[in-house]
């Protein structure tokens, strides 16, 4: 797996995304943690209302790429970024752009469920409150929980602590919490890696449903999961985007030899 990627590697693209369908367009993005370069000239267009999966061996920069999209990497000291991420006609890394606003529009779900030690209700209401939500909060919380397919299970425990839910329920609560700020894009970093198979199933179903309203970028280590939930897949290796295209194509007919080896489980 320590196979190096040639300096001049050009990402292999099959069936490229039409610029008109793009929500987020990453362009020549490089990122350094101090001296260490974690991303090398990554370009990736993310189509609206589709699920894009990022796959690749551990340490290849999937999380880094994901966290660049909502500028969570700004919080890590010593990070430098080069390149652009186009979103709604602006460059997210333009100095005039407020990262706080970016994170409201591009929500995030983390690997380990991390509800606040507050009630279920307050967890969901947290984001809207931050941004001065004026409408009917009860209704908004209910809608968000329904979209996260959690309402049935928690409607009687809205005032109980979010930490009292099961792991899978907690993760769906986090998804509801992310959706409650009405983002356009939801980033998910291995959202099911801490969950059992049944809870994983539910989250995968959920991802299928929410893509009508949101664009999803998901990092996963689980090939089957990538195959099940995503429309497009991007394969990374050592900070380089090796290949991207429709999921079916990537899985059945990868163009690059590294992709092929990763998919068939011969590496990583």
């Amino acid at each position: 797996m320590s196979q190096t990627v040639p300096e001049d590697h050009v990402t292999v693209r099959s069936d490229p995304v039409d610029a008109n369908d793009a929500v987020v367009a990453i362009e020549d993005l490089s990122l350094w943690y101090g001296d260490f370069q974690a991303l090398r000239d990554v370009s990736l267009t993310v189509p609206k209302n589709q699920v894009t999966a990022l796959i690749g061996a551990s340490g290849c920069g999937k999380s880094t790429l994901l966290r660049s999209v909502n500028r969570m990497n700004d919080l890590v000291p010593g990070v430098t970024v080069q390149g652009k991420i186009h979103y709604e006609g602006a460059d997210l890394y333009d100095p005039v752009v407020d990262p706080v606003e970016v994170r409201r529009r591009i929500g995030m779900v983390f690997q380990k469920p991390n509800p606040f030690p507050k009630s279920v209700y307050e967890n969901v209401a947290f984001g809207p409150r931050l941004h001065g939500f004026k409408g009917d909060m009860d209704a908004h919380v209910e809608t968000s929980l329904k979209r996260a397919a959690l309402w049935e299970e928690v409607q009687d425990k809205l005032q109980q602590s979010g930490l009292g839910l099961s792991g899978g329920q907690q993760q769906r609560l986090c998804i509801a919490r992310a959706m409650a700020t009405e983002p356009d894009v939801i980033l998910m970093d291995e959202p099911t890696s801490a969950l059992d198979p049944i809870a994983t199933d539910r989250i995968e179903e959920l991802i299928h449903e929410i893509k009508q309203d949101f664009t999803v970028i998901i990092v996963t280590h689980n090939m089957q999961q990538a195959g099940r939930v995503s429309d497009r897949t991007a394969f990374m290796h050592l900070g380089v985007l090796i290949e991207e295209g429709p999921t079916e194509r990537i899985f059945t007919n990868p163009q690059h030899e590294m992709t092929e080896r990763y998919i068939s489980g011969r590496f990583g």
Binding site: N70, M72, L75, P77, V100, E101, V102, R103, R104, R105, G107, M108, F110, K112, N114, P115, F116, P117, F126, G127, L130, H131, C174, R177, A178, T181
Partner: protein, 404 residues
């Protein structure tokens, strides 16, 4: 064969290891037992010291009244005083109906519930500042020689088992007469001082902790400040007293007041408060901050709505421990002018004051065995207060640990 041999050797080595472990446990165990024994002895000594046998020659009467005779809802005092005045051959109405006479009577006499030897154990007596204590015996000494003491008590004298620490002790004020002395004004003084200490040190300490933990750039200046805070926590408290005397009493001219004391003690505990608050803030899981930032919260929103609410138990625990320390401080307050005897309770930040440990200190310094009992009673009250505070801190810490 070789396998069995190796097992034998193994077993021996295991055995030796276990033996070494036991020796080690024994070595660490001894000091713990010694320390516990010492603390127990100290407590026992202080507690028995708060009870003494006394031969008293009352100035007026040797009357006493059983609990059922003396007790009356909300008017026990009037009830007992009336009986006493009748026994003294005076007119109760003269004292009880005139506020000024009442005040004077109160200053020189106390209604106390004492252990008496004869009749029912608990009896009301009115002690007067003119009562003469003929002799005073320690609790155990008195028990051993009770008959001799009884025989010693002459005409018009009586033997009393005096529990120095009773409810009245908490409200009685400083007095030259040991039986009359109590912690009243000192407790009010401590409440004032500590109240102000909390008002000053909590916002400043938490604010500084938030700044250092969340906002301060990681540079030489910050590291220098951090180092100094840690060092300041170890500076002897008397040094803070000198600082307080110079800065607050003299330069700002607050004089020997509650305010000077509170400011001095605030400085004293601030490093501890800051360190505790920083630890509490640090202990908030990073995943919660990430969640907050991920929802588009600003730094300040994250700090105020996620970090602080989750650090609050830790901050409170640290604050309680710091306050416990401030309550017991004596040296710096001696310097910034706590008085040993004050005529009335402090009424505000600019009043003169005394506090519990200073009061105890002044009793210990008295050249009178009876004041030693009073001091013991004071120490017991102080220890009880500290015990409650440490208990609260312990309880909070346990709960805090359980929450994740």
């Amino acid at each position: 064969m070789s396998l069995a041999h190796r097992n034998d050797a193994d077993r021996r080595r295991q055995e030796a290891k276990r033996a070494r472990g036991r020796t080690f446990v024994a070595i660490t165990f001894v000091p713990v037992v010694l320390a516990l024994a010492l603390v127990a002895t100290l407590f026992a000594d202080v507690i028995t010291d708060t009870v003494s046998w006394q031969i008293v020659e009352p100035a007026y009467t040797t009357e006493s009244w059983s609990f059922t005779e003396g007790f009356a809802f909300f008017s026990t005092w009037e009830n007992v005083v009336e009986k006493e005045l009748v026994a003294r051959g005076e007119d109760p109405a003269v004292v009880l109906d005139d506020p000024e006479e009442r005040r004077k009577f109160r200053l020189r006499n106390r209604v106390e519930l004492l252990w008496q030897l004869d009749g029912a154990p608990l009896r009301y007596v009115v002690t007067s500042s003119r009562d003469d204590t003929v002799a005073d015996y320690g609790f155990f000494e008195g028990l051993r020689q009770l008959d001799a003491i009884r025989a010693e008590a002459g005409e018009g004298q009586e033997v009393r088992l005096n529990p120095w620490l009773d409810a009245a002790f908490l409200t009685k004020n400083a007095s030259r007469t040991p039986v009359m002395a109590g912690l009243g004004n000192a407790l009010i003084g401590t409440l004032w001082v500590i109240g102000l200490v909390i008002v000053f040190s909590l916002p400043i300490g938490v604010g500084a902790a938030i700044y250092l933990e969340e906002y301060a750039p990681d540079n030489a200046v910050t590291r220098f400040i951090e180092l100094n805070i840690r060092n300041l926590a170890g500076v002897p408290s008397v040094v803070y007293g000198i600082l307080g005397l110079y800065a607050f009493v003299r330069v700002f001219e607050f004089g020997p007041t509650v305010l000077s004391a509170a400011l001095t003690l605030s400085l004293l505990i601030l490093p501890v408060v800051i360190i505790a608050a920083r630890e509490a803030i640090k202990a908030v899981p990073p995943s919660l901050r990430q969640a907050s930032y991920g929802l588009g919260a600003t730094k300040w929103q994250t700090v105020s709505q996620v970090v602080l609410p989750n650090a609050i138990t830790g901050i409170t625990t640290g604050m309680i421990l710091a306050v416990a320390r401030a309550i017991g401080e004596t040296a710096p307050l001696l310097l910034v002018g706590a008085a040993a005897f004050i005529p009335r309770a402090p009424e505000g930040p600019l009043s003169t004051y005394t506090v519990v440990p200073i009061q105890i200190y002044s009793w210990v310094a008295e050249n009178d065995v009876e004041f030693a009992h009073v001091a013991s009673a004071g120490i017991l009250v102080l220890l009880a207060v500290l015990l409650v505070l440490y208990g609260a801190a312990f309880y909070l810490r346990r709960r805090f640990e359980r929450s994740w």
